[in-house]
Symmetry: C2
Subunit: 316 residues, 2 copies
């Protein structure tokens, strides 16, 4: 059986047969197009499907709009540049055109775009037979020298996260238990892309690799390790666990949308205080990049090695 | 009840409250981003939903892939520039991951991209509960001076189409009658974007306004007229009707994806022979742009005025 990762992999392999037309290939949070004078554009796209990513009964149109926008802007932020525009596709069941869902969704999407300083430059709308479908393509723009890629982790780098983990996963659990309006449930429903954080981190050459945490730390860190052909040693006691979450959720729960980065260790203290002072954003060191061709993660707890594979979740 | 045009209109109005970030606003086949040195990028996005745009039983994965790509490239071609890349989102019902649909779709999408010289730079894949959903975002690149917009039709311009009309609509009718493998049915299933034609027309400053015919001549011409605040006189006997189609289908059938343009009349003969010689593409004059603040179309038949509104189709 093909998984969604298998499908992505098939697409990735096929791409290599295609002309590049000056774009960098697949493999990061965004595709990159250098446009001259040291500038680059970046591109990402995300598809949200009702019953898979949200439930109409459980999520308001405002929440769906916010999430559709922010999960895309998060990918742009993870490249270290500013999101500048989106294209929005919406399919709605015919009967929903009669209610106010479409209007509320649209207004919220526009309000959220405004709050993030992002243009809306195009779209497509259509009917569907049954499910709501939203696709957003986001475009970012910035200095080529600010771009952060997954492949750039170096041996000795500190691995850091820009916030506590597991809140979204814990919130999802509460929603599934029928408690849909707890603070954690709201965090799950209204994830916030670390846009200003990403732009600030882009300006620091000491930040080497970066990505956003959408599928859980354990799985996502693997992407950086594979792209960089390095390994990692992660200290479980250093993982910042969000209030109300536990270690397992912090490691494997998805959709926290906090930035994960690797950093020249000498820059840590200054970057930490800069992030704190300018954006009130924490920076937690959780481990180090090590030599390891197999992209292995060594988990430790108070200096002792811990066994067990901790993987991100899949939609399949 | 809100229609899809109502939803698009709500989005369009909302956009005006958003920053532009150097992009031109909504209103053409593509959004435009000037990037310096006389160059521009253009963007469009299209969402295809099973049961609305295609039937799994009636369309092969190869046909869906081809169509998803070409309807987007057609929008780029209609701007007068070269399509350079796409982003592809695919949602598939879980049970379809077990068959070869995903593999065949992916291979076809890549083969079609290769044939068009277009890169695939990103994507998203996910499960869906029931329906196949495909979203494509296409990017084009070219000289700013080549860009053709809907708003640039001028009084006195010849209105022309780059091919016979109605084939796709007639093919759809045959498919609905159970004849799925006639030549017209195949044309409906495998529409071809006029990529090289669009790029050639982009180079001609005498071509003023341009768009691709996706919703039918009668409805689409209105878009040019409204954007240009002009009217049109169209001679019904000049409409090039595809073999097997009739006048009504040529006017109101959608999805022909032929280019519709307005042209300085003095350039017609030379452009016609250039298109014919270089690309074996016909150019049919069907009327003229006239003064008319109401964006009215005056239909004539052998010099006599004909009454009746002929509109494009809606998905709602």
């Amino acid at each position: 059986m093909m998984t969604e990762f298998g499908l992505i992999e098939a697409i990735r392999r096929g791409c290599e047969a295609l002309p590049k037309n000056d774009f960098e290939g697949i493999g990061d949070d965004c595709a990159v197009l250098p446009i001259g004078e040291g500038e680059a554009l970046v591109y990402t796209t995300d598809l949200l499907v009702e019953r898979i990513h949200f439930l109409r009964e459980a999520a308001t149109p405002e929440e769906v709009a916010h999430k559709a926008l922010h999960v895309n802007l998060s990918d742009v932020a993870a490249m270290g540049v500013r999101p500048v525009a989106t294209l929005l596709s919406v399919a709605l069941p015919r009967e929903m055109m009669q209610g106010d869902w479409a209007e509320r969704f649209t207004q919220s999407y526009i309000a959220a775009s405004k709050a993030c300083g992002v243009a809306l430059i195009g779209g497509d709308t259509t009917a569907s037979e049954r499910d709501i479908v939203i696709n957003v393509t986001a475009i970012g723009r910035g200095s080529q020298s600010h771009l952060k890629r997954r492949r750039d982790a170096r041996v000795g780098d500190l691995i850091c996260v820009c916030g506590e983990l597991g809140a979204s996963g814990a919130g999802l659990r509460q929603i599934l238990e029928g408690r849909g309006d707890t603070p954690l449930a709201r965090l799950h429903k209204l994830p916030t892309a670390q846009i200003r954080e990403g732009m600030l981190l882009g300006e620091w050459p000491e930040v080497h690799a970066m990505m956003d945490l959408s599928d859980g730390l354990a799985g996502d860190l693997k992407h950086i390790l594979k792209a960089s052909q390095r390994g990692a040693e992660v200290e479980l006691e250093q993982i910042p666990i969000a209030e109300g979450a536990d270690l397992d959720t912090a490691l494997s729960g998805g959709e926290d949308y906090k930035l994960l980065l690797t950093l020249r260790p000498e820059a840590f203290e200054e970057l930490k205080s800069t992030l704190h002072e300018r954006l009130d954003c924490p920076l937690y060191p959780i481990g180090r990049i090590i030599e390891s061709p197999a992209a292995e993660i060594r988990w430790t707890l108070r200096g002792e090695k811990v066994e067990g594979q901790r993987e991100g979740f899949r939609h399949y």
